[in-house]
């Protein structure tokens, strides 16, 4: 009974501390406290609208996000996907950062969660796709003739060049909606353009790319 009472008091103290933190303790950081304090200061400035501070802090935390993603088991190019998602999440959640708490822990938690989301998504996709190597041996690629002579890196290069030649609005729409697969709402928040304008830009960009590439891709 006495132990139960002690446990209850401890629990209440912990909850109280979480709800109304009195000290500026910084728990759960895996970065030196000087870095954490510096980033925290930059983020506070970013909350006030300081673009330079925001640019600096986002640039400096990319390696930390990559480490967090790898620690969760994300590998290869998927690490970059997690970085992009985390940067977008930080942008949308920046008003929730409390400078009394660790900035590193804040970013790491978001990164770990986004890494797990990505792994789950990949697992779901993997379970829907069937491994059937013989299917490729039995049937010819429908567009084999136009594809001949181009390997994957050539295709990617041609596509990159074609996208780069698009106007700024169209390129932005393709990058956010088609390549990064953001929702219209997210892309709208990032670009500051209406969802209608983004749709129109994407439609025009696709038309331009089809004309430009013809049967190359």
């Amino acid at each position: 009974m006495e132990r139960l009472g002690v446990c209850s008091i401890y629990l209440m103290l912990r909850i109280g501390q979480e709800l109304f933190p009195l000290s500026s303790e910084r728990e759960g950081t895996d970065a030196p406290s000087s870095s954490d304090e510096r980033w925290s200061g930059l983020m506070v400035a970013a909350q006030a609208g300081d673009r330079l501070a925001y640019h600096s802090v986002l640039r400096e935390i990319v390696p930390m996000i990559e480490r967090a993603a790898r620690r969760k088991g994300v590998t290869g190019v998927s690490v970059d996907d997690v970085v992009q998602e985390v940067l977008s999440s930080i942008h949308n959640a920046r008003h929730t950062y409390d400078p009394a708490r660790s900035f590193t822990a804040w970013v790491t938690t978001i990164a770990q969660r986004r890494a797990l989301d990505l792994l789950r998504k990949q697992t779901r996709q993997g379970s829907r796709e069937r491994h059937a190597p013989l299917a490729y041996e039995s049937y010819a690629e429908p567009d084999m003739a136009t594809d001949r002579g181009l390997d994957e890196s050539d295709k990617a290069r041609i596509l990159r060049e074609a996208i780069a030649e698009l106007g700024e609005g169209q390129r932005e729409a393709v990058e956010h909606l088609a390549l990064r697969e953001l929702s219209l709402a997210e892309a709208s928040r990032l670009t500051g353009k209406s969802t209608g304008a983004l749709k129109v830009n994407l439609h025009r960009a696709m038309k331009a790319l089809r004309t430009r590439l013809g049967g190359q891709i």
Binding site: E18, G49, L58, D81, L87, S88, D98, D117, E186, T191
Partner: protein
């Protein structure tokens, strides 16, 4: 994708930056929501005669415990939900209202059994009155859920499903506690099945609706 892509995105995000108002602490936000619940309670207290409630609390064993547990569930649920609305908080906050919820449901169930054994004629009376309880709980839950979801949209949860369920528990417990103010008979039980159904309905709707709205905060 490469570091160039990251640079491009960082440039775009920095260009998009506007000043933001920092979110208040979860304790303060929970206190605000609970203050609105208290305002509802005050309104009901002024509008209804609470003699019935006082008599029941005095004479029916378990009424005080069930009511206290419902209030504790609402308070702990509110604390949990506002903690979960922040991206750096542990999902274990979702467990916070569970002991009080179990205690509340247990006390209510036990009170119901005792009541039916002592006064078997109440069984039909309460079953006839029970649909009213469902309507009251659901009607009280609508404004409380709306306010809660509105406040949660200001946060940024990484666990939309869990946050919605915790919110549903807080709302259902608050609505049930408010119902006791003008409830015509034994708070501790009698219509436990309808109460349980109403609570499950409120939690389910919050899970569905809250999950959909909070999901828009961003997922892969």
């Amino acid at each position: 994708m490469s570091s160039k892509q990251h640079t491009n995105l960082i440039d775009a995000l920095a260009a998009d930056l506007v000043p933001v108002r920092r979110l208040h602490s979860p304790g303060l936000r929970a206190a605000f929501w609970l203050a609105v619940v208290s305002a509802f309670a005050l309104g009901l207290y002024l509008a209804y005669d609470i003699t019935n409630l006082l008599i029941r609390m005095e004479h029916v064993p378990g009424t005080k415990i069930a009511l206290g547990a419902a209030i504790a569930t609402a308070v702990l649920g509110a604390i949990a939900v506002f903690q979960l609305s922040l991206p750096d908080r542990s999902p274990r906050w979702g467990f916070l209202p569970i002991p009080a919820l179990a205690f509340w449901l247990g006390a209510s169930g036990l009170g119901c059994v005792n009541r039916l054994e002592a006064l078997p004629e109440m069984r039909w009376y309460t079953l006839l009155e029970a649909p009213d309880c469902l309507i009251y709980i659901v009607a009280l839950s609508i404004p409380l859920s709306t306010l809660l979801i509105f406040m949660l949209r200001r946060g940024y949860t990484l666990y939309p499903g869990l946050t919605s369920v915790a919110g549903g528990i807080a709302v259902a417990a608050a609505a049930s506690a408010l119902l006791e103010i003008f409830h015509p008979f034994d708070a501790a039980g009698t219509d436990i099945l309808v109460h349980a159904f109403a609570i499950a309905l409120v939690i389910g709707v919050n899970r569905w609706l809250g999950g959909r709205l909070l999901n828009k905060q961003g997922h892969l």
